[in-house]
Structures are given as structure tokens and as C-alpha cells.
């Protein structure tokens, strides 16, 4: 049986752990609200942008003149997996879920004989992916130098991706992030960002006839396509930020509760041990007195 002193130490150490998880939970709850508002406000724009892109890609006639960002390079040999995670842990399975989703896709692509490259945003995905797919990470960046993830940050990422695409580094880009549903539910999501995914819905037939461009098709597409990449990246990062806080809050809530349970068990054990020690002492004293 553990001694009184070790029990006391364990209780106090669990108590200080509980204090930390409780504080982290409060911080996450406070940050969650703002992150959630930002993510939800950004959704309609990104969705409308996606709709506009889908309707454009249906109308465009595939040919040498068509922008590869819209219709693709005609190949699908090299796939770039853009994986967005967070910089910090203490968020339950948040980062692990995103990485798991990316791994599923990567394994499937590798099994199909495709080449897979990784483009990582955020610290937490790096170690795992580097271990499982060594040498396949083409770029890594974290959020150390940015305080708030804003549209400018997403635009830089988008520009970098578009530049790499133009140089022929990859044919298809998939984007992995965690879609925020509620503080309890975050959905790891995969989205194809380059080229623009062709919507497979049944009413694809409705879009017919040429579309008029002002000022010109090239001018609009040149501006709109890179912008779409940036907007989709930005949406993913905002969803991620909200998901991270949600996951963190849930995980820390569980941790706080577990610590509480542990403290209860340990306290009972401590009290029993203490009583046993007192009883033993009394027995010794009494039997000593009787012997006299």
C-alpha cells in the first residue's frame, strides 16, 4: 500500500494538472465564440465563389486556350495534398483526425500508382507525415509569424500554390482541413482546390450557351481563379481555427472531469490509509499499556 506521503503528493499533482486543463478550457471557450463567428460569416462567400467557379468550369470549352487552373493539366499523375493543422496541441484528436484523413487519400493515391507530395500548413501535422512519408514534404509553414490568420496570409499561400502549379510541380491539389459543426463535432474534410472540381450534380445539363465576359475572358479568369484558391484556403483556415478551439474545449472538459474523478479516488484511498495508520498506532499503544 502506498504511503501517506506519496498519496498526498499524487493528489496535489493531479490538482495542479486539473487547474491547467480548467484554465485551458476557459480560454478555448472564450476564443471559440469569435472563431466560430468568423468561420460562419466567411462561409457564404466561399460557397458562392465555389458555385460561380463550378458554373464557369461547365461552360468553358476544354482546349489549349482554357486556363489549366480551371480545367486541369489533362493529367492526374502528381497530387499535392495541402494539409492544414494547428500549431498547438491540447486539442484532443483534432490534428490527428485531419492527418488521418490525409493519409487515407495519400495511401489510396499511392496504391493507384500516383505521385504524392505534401504541402503543410501548421506545425502539428509535420512530424507524423514526415515519419510515414519521408521526403515527400515539399513545403512547410506554421503560424509562428502571424498573430491572426487573415485573408492576406491565405492569399500568400494561394499565390504560392498557383505559382507551383504553373511551374508544373503538380496536377491536382487536395485541401484538408476540419469543418466546424459544433463544439463537439468537427468534420475532417477533403476538398479539391486545383483544378476547380466539376460539379457532378444532375442539373449539370442546364448550363448551356456561351457566357459573356466583361472586360475579357482572360482578364476575369486571371483574377478570379487565383482568388478562388485563396478564398478556399482562407475558408479552411477559419474553419480550422474554430474547430481547434471547439476540440480543445471538449478535450479539456473531459480532462478536467477525469482529473476530478482521480482526485476523488485518491482522496478516499488517502483517508482509508490514514485511518489504518491511526488504528495500528492505537492498537500498539493499548497493547503496550496492557502489557505493563
Amino acid at each position: 500500500m502506498a504511503s501517506l506521503k506519496t498519496l498526498k503528493n499524487r493528489i496535489s499533482s493531479v490538482k495542479s494538472t486539473q487547474k491547467i486543463t480548467k484554465a485551458k478550457k476557459m480560454v478555448a471557450a472564450a476564443k471559440l465564440r469569435r472563431a466560430q463567428e468568423a468561420a460562419e460569416a466567411a462561409r457564404p462567400y466561399a460557397e458562392k465563389m465555389g458555385e460561380v467557379m463550378a458554373s464557369l468550369s461547365q461552360r468553358i470549352t476544354p482546349g489549349p486556350g482554357a486556363s489549366p487552373l480551371l480545367v486541369g493539366t489533362g493529367k492526374a499523375d502528381v497530387h499535392l495534398l495541402v494539409v492544414a493543422t494547428s500549431d498547438r496541441g491540447l486539442a484532443g484528436a483534432f490534428n490527428a483526425n485531419i492527418v488521418k484523413r490525409a493519409r487515407q487519400t495519400a495511401d489510396k493515391l499511392i496504391a493507384a500508382g500516383k505521385e504524392v507530395k505534401f504541402y503543410l500548413i501548421g506545425k502539428k501535422g509535420r512530424a507524423v507525415i514526415n515519419r510515414i512519408y519521408p521526403g515527400r514534404i515539399v513545403h512547410f509553414q506554421d503560424f509562428a509569424d502571424v498573430k491572426n490568420v487573415d485573408f492576406l496570409y491565405a492569399r500568400r499561400v494561394g499565390q504560392d500554390l498557383v505559382a507551383r502549379f504553373r511551374e508544373g510541380e503538380f496536377d491536382v491539389a487536395h485541401y484538408f482541413f476540419s469543418k466546424f459543426q459544433s463544439a463537439l463535432v468537427q468534420q475532417p474534410t477533403e476538398q479539391q482546390i486545383i483544378p476547380v472540381p466539376v460539379s457532378s450534380d444532375a442539373d449539370a445539363e442546364r448550363a448551356t450557351g456561351p457566357i459573356e465576359y466583361e472586360p475579357s475572358e482572360e482578364a476575369i479568369l486571371d483574377e478570379l481563379l487565383p482568388r478562388n484558391v485563396a478564398v478556399q484556403i482562407f475558408k479552411g483556415l477559419l474553419e480550422n481555427a474554430a474547430s481547434e478551439q471547439g476540440a480543445s474545449m471538449t478535450a479539456m472538459d473531459n480532462a478536467t472531469r477525469n482529473a476530478g474523478d482521480l482526485i476523488n479516488t485518491l482522496t478516499i484511498q488517502y483517508n482509508r490509509t490514514r485511518q489504518a495508520v491511526i488504528t495500528t498506532e492505537l492498537v500498539e499503544i493499548i497493547s503496550g499499556a496492557e502489557a505493563l
Binding site: K48, S55, L56, I211, E212, E214, P215
Partner: protein
């Protein structure tokens, strides 16, 4: 006669619903969109869009700082960089912003910075003109 109209900016969705007619400040001139308009895609310059809920009714004016307009079979979608109802524009704040932009232009010491400052200033001046009438 109803036109499905969506107006979104990166911050939020401003309008979604059916209207009668929308006048859009296109990059190459204003154009009006009614139901059944031919599919088109246009960039927008800074300016006010006019939304008519009903034929001959009053127009609601919303200031837009550039973006894209797409017309397809389902309706009109405007992706604005930034949007603000004209009625909400704060004249004093706008004047202060214009002054700051002017100072920035005066301080700019290379071409790209100057071009940027000039663009910003023009946008703000357009906004002031839109708010004034």
C-alpha cells in the same frame, strides 16, 4: 417577374432573395439585370449597386469596392471585396479615412506603394461621391 439576387462579401452575406432589378457598376459601364438576363461575367468597379425590390419602387443603394458579378440561369451573384449600405456610411469617418489616404500617398516613396495609395484614395473618393447624392 423576380430575379434571384445574392450579395456576399468575405465578411458576411448581405442580401439573398428575390428582387425586381439590380443596377451593377460594371468595369466597362453600368448595366441593369432583370430576370432572364443572358449569362455573363463581369468585374465591378467601386461604386453603388442599386437594388429595386419592385418595378418603379425606391432603390436601395449599396456601396461596393470592386469584385465580380455573375449572371446565370438561376440569377445574379455578386462577390464583393467589401460592401456597405450607402445609408450606413459615416461621413466623418470617411473624411478622416480620405485624409489618411492622402497622407499615405504623400509619403509613398516607390511606384507600387504610390499606385496602391492612389487606388485606395480613388475608391474612398468614389465612396464619398456615392454617399453625397
Amino acid at each position: 417577374m423576380a430575379l434571384q439576387f445574392e450579395l456576399v462579401s468575405p465578411e458576411k452575406q448581405l442580401r439573398s432573395g428575390t428582387v425586381h432589378q439590380v443596377v451593377v457598376p460594371g468595369a466597362e459601364g453600368d448595366f441593369a439585370v432583370l430576370e432572364g438576363h443572358a449569362p455573363m461575367m463581369s468585374t465591378i468597379r467601386a461604386g453603388a449597386i442599386e437594388v429595386y425590390e419592385a418595378a418603379g419602387g425606391p432603390a436601395e443603394r449599396i456601396f461596393i469596392e470592386g469584385g465580380f458579378a455573375e449572371v446565370n440561369e438561376t440569377g445574379l451573384t455578386i462577390l464583393a471585396e467589401r460592401a456597405e449600405p450607402v445609408a450606413n456610411i459615416d461621413a466623418e469617418q470617411l473624411t478622416a479615412e480620405i485624409e489618411r489616404a492622402e497622407q499615405r500617398l504623400a509619403r509613398a516613396d516607390n511606384d507600387s506603394e504610390r499606385a496602391q495609395a492612389e487606388k485606395r484614395l480613388n475608391t474612398l473618393r468614389t465612396k464619398r461621391d456615392v454617399a453625397a447624392n
